[in-house]
């Protein structure tokens, strides 16, 4: 896969001399990138990715990418970053060794987020402008299918058994269950206003969906296709309308869930047995997306309005660091 992606006719990017100088300067500072735990953060307003060294706890490099970068993930082998360049209507492929854009995937218009299947060869993309989920074969770089869903498709996830793909639609307010084989929508579950992220527990027994304007997380039984529980949030001194759940992450043992609460500037920590919020961790401003380090010890959050990421110590449930990145950080992924 790597060779095929690497030899693609990449976009020619002409940068001003100053930028080139900055590039080589940073390269000198940061020769041993492969040794460090590295996070990649998409900066929606800067059209860049910040490369964050998690040993040094700082951004060490900036990669120029396409317009309005949002969803970001890594290929299963860790060799490539996949990035939704929404306003360029494409998914960019970035080599993690050279940090250069080496190719594009045909994403359909306005790709926002995506999810990889278990094998890592198929990518499910939400096309926000098009009420569509696009299925892309990464190796062949081909669109395999387009699946119509609700208005403004947003969150994408694949069930742990790989059999179900879930897409949320922000204006239709549903979680759409899509069969992996037939690529047909098999069930639609109405949730609260403006659903953003859908996330399965690792054991697959529940699907959690955040509703940004509804201010809730719906816990869905993925077999019955029914909401079995709604989790609400309350932060002393904050108006309920600024509590806007977006990102969801489960610890590897599914014991805890972390929910990013947007302009409430907090991450809620939820006991998944009782569904009770056990803590609210104060992070940067307008927190949306999150990712764990591979060992599960740290959780990173993107804070859109304070232009930084917060680093949460998962065992201590403490915010231990905030790291400046580019403007309007959207997504984050940590390299294995």
């Amino acid at each position: 896969m790597r060779g095929r992606l690497g030899c693609a006719a990449g976009l020619a990017t002409i940068r001003p001399t100053m930028a080139l100088l900055a590039f080589s300067f940073v390269d000198v500072l940061f020769p041993a990138r492969s040794q460090a735990l590295t996070a990649y953060v998409s900066n929606e307003r800067d059209n860049t990715i910040s490369v964050v060294d998690l040993d040094a706890m700082k951004a060490v490099k900036t990669i120029d990418v396409g317009e309005r970068p949002r969803g970001i993930t890594l290929t299963r082998d860790g060799h490539f970053i996949l990035l939704c360049a929404s306003d360029d209507d494409t998914i960019q492929v970035i080599d993690t060794k050279t940090l250069k854009v080496v190719g594009n995937l045909p994403s359909g218009p306005d790709p926002e987020t995506f999810a990889l299947n278990a094998a890592g060869n198929l990518l499910y993309v939400s096309n926000e402008n098009d009420s569509m989920v696009t299925v892309i074969d990464i190796d062949a770089r081909k669109v395999m299918a387009e699946i119509p869903t609700g208005v403004e498709p947003e969150g994408m996830t694949v069930s742990p058994d790989g059999q179900t793909i879930v897409n949320t639609s922000e204006t239709t307010n549903m979680a759409h269950f899509i069969d992996y084989k037939t690529r047909k929508v098999t069930a639609n579950v109405l949730v609260d206003a403006r659903p953003r992220i859908a996330m399965y527990r690792h054991d697959g027994t529940e699907l959690w969906v955040s509703a940004e304007l509804g201010g809730t997380v719906s816990v869905i039984d993925p077999v019955a296709h029914a909401v079995k529980r709604k989790i609400g949030f309350e932060v002393q001194g904050l108006r309920s309308d600024v509590i806007q759940p977006v990102g969801i992450r489960f610890t590897a043992d599914d014991a805890l869930a972390f929910v990013a609460l947007g302009p409430a500037n907090r991450v809620a920590v939820i006991d998944t047995k009782t569904y009770q919020v056990k803590d609210y961790l104060l992070v940067g401003q307008r927190v949306w997306q999150m990712d764990f380090t591979p060992d599960g010890k740290l959780l990173l959050t993107t804070n859109g309005l304070s232009n930084d990421i917060s680093v949460i110590d998962v065992a201590a449930l403490k915010v231990v660091k905030s790291i400046q990145v580019g403007r309007l950080p959207w997504g984050v992924v940590v390299a294995p």
Binding site: D110, E128, N129, S131, P148, G150, V151, E152, S169, E170, T171, T172, N173, M174, H176, V185, N188, L190, A193, R194, L213, G214, R239, D241, Q244, P263
Partner: protein
């Protein structure tokens, strides 16, 4: 109209309703619901009652009304008897929500008092509290000026001078018009006591657009020109707004206006209520919309809800300079025991509305 850029598109408002109908139908597909939009144009001489009767004969249950206040009032009674709920998407008159309020009229358009309060909060936040109020000579301008006077009193601003600009039937800045305007506006605003801003109340676009850069003293113009309170602006891209703007431009090849947004919101309110109730029964839909669970997302960062004392939609108001959203009201620090959105406009305790 003073600027050619402000020329109204023939489908202003209607395009917003069409887009929302598309959005409703995309959602409806998953629930077995379909929505249909029928256009009933009413010309200057036409009787809106005839249009309403024809819609009623077609079994319509919800009607968006893009008419002035008297038109809305005229339709309200007959609509009720034919089982039609009206959605007022255009008329800003406070009286429609106060002494002339009706149980089966839902107001999506903001009132003059909501718009004036939204602007006033920002001016007070900015400490621009000395206002020169300039109003036009039309009755709507007098109502808007009332709203600004009320806002000044509520939020602690002071109107240090008031002037009326008489509409003498001038045209746009053609030929010698520019020269005249350049002479006229400084003189018109000359000799006022010290003020921080010029607040223009000009609903018919007679003069306000000519004020910026031409006032006697160098002061920002706000209100009907300069910094304008609106429900929507084509530059608003927060909270997913970029998606809506893109969808709109792609379909209609023009920018989305505030009237388009008001129509979009009305149609989405109906769609949202239909999908939550999983019902096509107008009674069930309206019961839900008027109930405590209802809220609609409209790219304003929070759910919009209805004031249950007069069925006015609560909504943040954008302050636009014509190119960007400068701020969004309610402003921080203007507190309310129920919702900050009720710091905009006439609040429950002051309301004269008795719904019937």
């Amino acid at each position: 109209m003073i600027s050619l850029l402000d020329q109204q598109a023939p489908d202003d408002g209607f395009a917003g309703a069409k887009l929302a109908t598309d959005d409703n139908n995309t959602t409806g597909r998953f629930l077995g619901q379909a929505f249909q939009l029928i256009d009933a144009p009413v010309g200057g001489q036409d009787d809106p009652l005839a249009a309403l009767a024809s819609l009623a004969d077609q079994g319509i249950a919800f009607a968006l009304v893009d008419l002035a206040a008297d038109g809305v009032l005229k339709l309200a009674g007959p609509a009720g008897t034919r089982g039609i709920t009206l959605f007022n998407i255009a008329a800003r008159d406070d009286n429609l929500r106060e002494k002339d309020c009706r149980a089966d009229v839902i107001h999506i358009a903001p009132t003059r008092s909501m718009l004036a309060d939204a602007l006033a909060q920002y001016l007070v936040w900015k400490k621009w509290t000395r206002w020169m109020l300039v109003l036009g000579s039309h009755p709507e301008d007098a109502l808007l000026a009332d709203a600004y006077r009320r806002a000044a009193k509520r939020f602690g601003a002071r109107i240090v001078d008031e002037r009326i600009f008489k509409d003498s039937g001038g045209a746009r800045q053609t030929d010698s018009g520019v020269i005249q305007v350049q002479q006229q506006m400084p003189v018109f605003t000359q000799g006022a006591p010290d003020h921080d801003v010029v607040v223009a109340a000009d609903e018919n676009e007679v003069f306000a657009g000519d004020l910026p850069y031409r006032t006697w003293t160098a002061r920002p113009v706000v209100g009907s020109a300069g910094l304008v309170p609106v429900t929507w602006d084509a530059s608003s891209d927060s909270w997913g707004g970029a998606q809506l703007q893109n969808r709109f431009v792609r379909l209609y090849h023009r920018r989305m206006t505030a009237l388009d947004m008001q129509a979009w919101t009305a149609v989405r309110m109906i769609g949202e209520s239909a999908s939550r109730t999983k019902s096509a029964d107008p009674k069930a839909i309206m019961a839900y919309m008027k109930g405590p669970e209802f809220g609609v997302a409209a790219y304003k960062g929070q759910r919009l809800t209805l004031r249950d004392w007069n069925w006015q939609l609560r909504q943040p108001i954008l302050l636009s300079d014509g190119r960007n959203v400068v701020s969004i009201s309610p402003q921080p620090g203007f507190l309310h025991q129920v919702t900050e959105l009720d710091t905009l406009g006439i609040d429950r305790p002051e309301s004269q509305c008795k719904l019937k």
